[in-house]
Amino acid sequence: MNQLLVTYLRPHRKVLVVIALLLLIQAVANLYLPSLNADIINEGVVTGDTGYILRVGGLMLLLSVLLGIASVVTVYFSARTSMRFGREVRGDLFRHVEGFSLSQMHSFGVPSLITRNTNDVQQLQMLVMVGLTMMVLAPITAIGGVIMAMRENVQLSSLLIVTVPLMIAVIGFMLYRAIPLFRAMQVKIDRVNGVLRENLAGIRVIRAFVRTSHEEERFAEANVDLTDTALKVTRLFALIMPTLMLIMNLTIVATIWFGGHLIADGSMPIGNLFAFQSYIMQILTSVMMAVMTMMMVPRASASAERIQAVLQAVPEIAEPAIALDVPLARIGRIELRDVDFRYPGAQDSVLNDVSLTLEPGTTTAIVGGTGSGKSTLVNLLPRLLDVTGGSVLIDGVDVRDIPLEELWDLFGLVPQRGFLFGGTVGSNVRFGRPDATDDEVWDALTVAQAREFVDLLPEGLDAPIDQGGVNLSGGQRQRLAIARCIVRDPLIYLFDDSFSALDYATDARLRGALRSLTRGKTVVIVAQRVSTIMDADRIVVLDNGRVAGIGTHDDLMETCEAYREIAASQVSLEDVR
């Protein structure tokens, strides 16, 4: 955590110095007030000098106002600094993740990355905010308080040697017990919420199997478990404040007792007893404040660790170090040479020794079972993943040598799930080409077989799309995703199992319409249905990451066992042919 704080607070060090100075002034002023009060008693009350009392009173008044101004300025700077801290960490995290490869995204997990970019930063930002004031003010006040108390009377100050360690010991013991309980509680809250989430997601199944009461028992179990732990934590906390208050009050009682003796001896003026009590209060309250702030530390440091882990991961997809010496030909010829791909830490390769050439103007279909590496292969082309062996070349240039923006400009991608962004139908279709005209958008929708349902929407292109496109059916989402790709008019089309949510009729019409559009382009289609790919120029059969056959449907039916198996199973299922 320290490293993260140092890195991001260093640019603000001038402001931090100002804050520290301001806090120092506050601490001194705070400590000076009781001493002035002691003067009022010693010099004014005891001698009956009302003029003195008023003079010193005026000084105290002035000091209080100055103190107020100083703390407002401090709040200004600390709020600004901590919020800037948050803004900068968030910004860097976001940019950093943008450079991640797909496998990095998956190894962190998208939901986790989202939490790290939002909640975790928030946690840390709050710690900085509170820390900037409390963590600095509390020690200064405590130390200053000890010094001032000793100035009032050294002998009496020895009381602090007993009190402060006692207080710290008590708090330490409580924290020692409370922190594991806190952690356990968080886990149990997650568990309770997890059961609820599961119940909401599976409500139809639960009711269909008449298991509502079973689920209620499961929930009750988690709920009892959580309540037990929560009760332990709150009961522990029930003890903290009364104990600390008791220590503080008994210290004051002791102060009066010992102070009384000192006053009787004449070794201490009576006003100092007042000042001394104020210092004790200040010291002990700062210790308490510091501790309360410390309570935030374990949680924030867990957050910091999670943020650090992301920032320390080197983005796998890096811009090429040197610029291309010749401009890219932009023909669309793709060549895979002995390509290997293996996820970090995985035992087996996903792709093994794959060599292929995809010519412009042809449609290449990739088929194979689950886990055969079809999607991985597609993701290697636009460098969503990088090969772990061999190379991918486009128009003769290794993709790793092509500037990223230029590389991506060649592609149109339709991923497996028709993911849409919050906005409108229009904004989604224009996603890759913001300057597309309405006509171009409608043309793309027509080809994608989406015109029909968009026409029915009262707002047409301006019809709102919820985040993730949840207000549309799977087939509608997929068709819009295809339109989004078409409107870009890319050189290379990548369809990653993009037709699965469509019924056969729509699928056929769509592919018919695409055919004229993709003339002269390089088209890669990953598919499950044989009917979808039978008309491809070439079919590549993947089996366990290796190329098991390449050829047309008819070739493969004769030569490729794996392909025959796939086709046979489907054809018999379709009951056609």
Partner: protein, 655 residues
């Protein structure tokens, strides 16, 4: 795979602001709508704890009373010291009166009156016996006060935790009683947020506010009483700070509120943007949207910074402002108190006690202000939970209900009408007779609302008019559980819970033996792939079960249905993103499962459709045709068109 089960979803139920952000933001930042009403209602929920709450209040009274007594005792102790100190300054042998006279004579009138007001024995020192006595009492008072305060906190911890426990229980039970219509028509994120975030927030609120509120209120009253008792004039000065503190707090809070609202709004926007960009990571890159996405992020990030900085800064002024007021009060007491001691109208110990009281006085006031803030947010959450608890439940089952002991699978729809929305008729006057063992294929284009029939059959929704009969008896008169028990369901939405594969299969029947589970697994073709997993049947499925493939998940749901051994089946044939070999297994398993049972199949395969006894054709959620394959082909209607397009696409695919 979150396939929507309702083709034309009814509008979201109002009142919660809807929108995609509503779920994201979690706990609402809006103010409670009926603060008093909801507060009362919430207080009523603590009724079972009323005896303990009463005890807590008694303890709080006692503890606060003792704590408030403390400074006065210490003040008396100070007086003893001061008296002793002044006495020792005076020559021994003279009386107090003589000392006063001497001072007056020397012109020190103020000091004279001060000394006159003290109880002095000139020449004597501090009376340590008296001091010890009073400090001993103070010690006992403080110890007792702390013990009582601990007891009060301890009991209150139980009250809050049990109250939250009951609230969770009640909400969970409520979820079990709500009709499917509620879940289909409200966003899952929003419901989830109510049952998790909002309840967590209420729990936090209860823990933070309840004890603080009781003690703070009592302390204010007790301290005020002590202050008035010691010195009415100083008490008036301290009292002036109360409305001043409140006014300042309100003034500042009002100005920071819009910034807080903006902060939450931009937090929501930012979270939404991050979620979207990370989820659509591949698209953002390949579609060249990276710069735009970063620019959008920066914009939201900057705005969030601006608003949160202002919110934090402005609200951060409250504390220093209150400190200034408290310090002014302190100075006023020190000065006026000093003057009064000097003139003898007040003792030094009382001034000291007063200073302590005034400190004790400002703290609970700040606390109450803070509690009011937290309470606002807590009640807003409580309101959202109450809203859920107030939703109409499923109509109770008839009592006595029509028994359904051994369903044969004979089903009749008689003149059934149903609509999700009052003005959008879906099913009108539908009749259908199904004999045991028959196959009914439900066909229609993507999104035609094929699951509506499932909803009615399983009584997830009730028909508006007409009847559905099972074995000649209307299902409306039966217990929902009995009706549902006679069905087995294998849907595209393959819900599995977090647990082992074994337990997920066993979910189909609560009392199944190991042999039965084994047999079901084998029949559903899951045995083979499970055995290839390192932990076999004990493999733990994680949430969303990403450690097995979509096809394997579906096989598990088939095994679950096998085990349930229902008379009637509901199957969804759609198997997107399933590789072909697994698909073969799924088809085989489904065929075996169908054997000897009445089956409603949401059909995607021509073979199933052609073999079906009845085909029900849907278009945009409506039943447009029914009959056998040959009848429907002859009719040249919707089915004919659909069949042609499917047949053509499948056969003439190579152009």
């Amino acid at each position: 795979m979150s396939q929507r089960t309702v083709s034309s979803p009814p509008p979201r139920q109002g009142g919660m602001g809807g929108g995609p952000m509503a779920g994201l933001q979690g706990v609402s930042d809006e103010k409670a709508q009926d603060f008093r009403g909801s507060l009362k209602r919430f207080a009523a929920r603590m009724r079972p704890e009323r005896v303990i709450v009463a005890l807590v209040i008694v303890l709080a009274f006692a503890s606060v009373f003792l704590a408030v007594l403390g400074p006065k005792l210490l003040g008396n102790a100070t007086n003893i010291i001061f008296d002793g100190f002044v006495s020792s300054q005076l020559p021994s042998g003279v009386t107090q009166e003589q000392a006063v006279a001497a001072l007056e004579a020397s012109g020190q009138t103020d000091q004279a009156s001060m000394v006159a007001s003290m109880t002095l024995t000139p020449g004597e020192g501090v009376d340590f016996a008296a001091l010890a006595r009073i400090l001993a009492i103070a010690t006992i008072v403080y110890v007792l006060s702390s013990i009582l305060s601990w007891g009060q906190n301890y009991l209150m911890a139980g009250v809050t935790q049990r109250t939250i426990y009951r609230l969770r229980e009640e909400v969970d039970a409520k979820l079990g009683k709500l009709p499917l219509r509620y879940f289909d028509s409200s966003s899952r994120g929003d419901v989830l947020s109510r049952v998790t975030n909002d309840i967590d927030n209420i729990s936090m609120t209860l823990q933070q506010t309840l004890t603080q509120l009781i003690t703070a209120l009592l302390t204010v009253i007790g301290v005020l009483a002590m202050m008035v008792w010691i010195s009415p004039i100083l008490a008036v000065i301290s009292l002036l700070t109360v409305p001043l503190s409140f006014a300042v707090t309100m003034f500042i809070a009002k100005r920071s509120q819009p910034h807080f609202v903006a902060q939450w709004k931009w937090t929501g926007t930012l979270n939404g943007h991050v979620e979207e960009t990370f989820s659509g990571h591949d698209l953002v890159k390949v579609f060249g949207h990276r710069h735009q996405s970063i620019a959008d992020f920066d914009e939201a990030n900057e705005r969030m910074y601006e608003s949160s900085f202002r919110a934090q800064y402005i609200s951060g002024i409250i504390q220093p402002a209150l400190t200034v007021i408290a310090n002014l009060n302190y100075v006023a007491i020190a000065v006026i108190g000093g003057l009064r001691v000097a003139t003898g109208s007040m003792s030094l110990g009382d001034v000291q006690a007063f200073i302590q009281y005034s400190r004790q006085f400002t703290m609970p006031i700040t606390q109450i202000a803070g509690v009011a803030n937290v309470l606002q947010s807590g009640i807003a959450s409580a309101e959202r939970v109450f809203e859920l608890l107030d939703q109409p439940e499923e109509t109770p089952d008839d009592d006595p209900s029509i028994p359904l002991d051994a369903p044969t699978g004979r089903i009749r729809f008689e003149d059934v009408s149903f609509r999700y929305l009052p003005d959008a008729p879906l099913i009108e006057g539908f009749d259908l007779s199904v004999e045991p063992g028959e196959i009914i294929a439900i066909v229609g284009p993507t999104g035609a609302g094929k699951t509506t029939l499932v909803n009615l059959l399983m009584r997830f929704y009730d028909v508006d008019s007409g009847r559905i009969l099972m074995d000649g008896e209307p299902t409306m008169g039966m217990r929902r559980d009995d009706v549902r028990r006679s069905f087995g369901m294998v849907l595209q939405d393959t819900w599995l819970f977090e647990g082992t594969i074994h337990d997920n299969i066993a979910y189909g029947a609560a009392d199944a033996t190991e042999e039965e589970i084994d047999a079901a697994a084998r029949a559903a073709r899951v045995d083979h792939f499970v055995r290839t997993l390192p932990d076999g049947y004990e493999t733990l499925l994680t949430e969303g079960a990403s450690n097995i493939s979509a096809g394997e998940r579906q096989l598990l749901t088939i095994a679950r249905a096998f085990l349930a051994d229902p008379a009637i089946l509901i199957l969804d044939e759609a198997t997107s993103s399933v590789d072909t070999r697994t698909e073969v297994l799924i088809q085989q398993a489904m065929a075996e499962l169908r054997h000897g049972r009445t089956s409603f199949v949401i059909a995607h395969r021509l073979s199933t459709i052609r073999n079906a006894d009845v085909i029900v054709v849907l278009e945009s959620g409506r039943i447009v045709e029914q009959g056998s394959h040959d009848e429907l082909i002859a009719a040249k209607g919707a089915y004919y068109r659909l069949y042609r397009s499917q047949f053509e696409s499948a056969v003439d695919d190579g152009e």
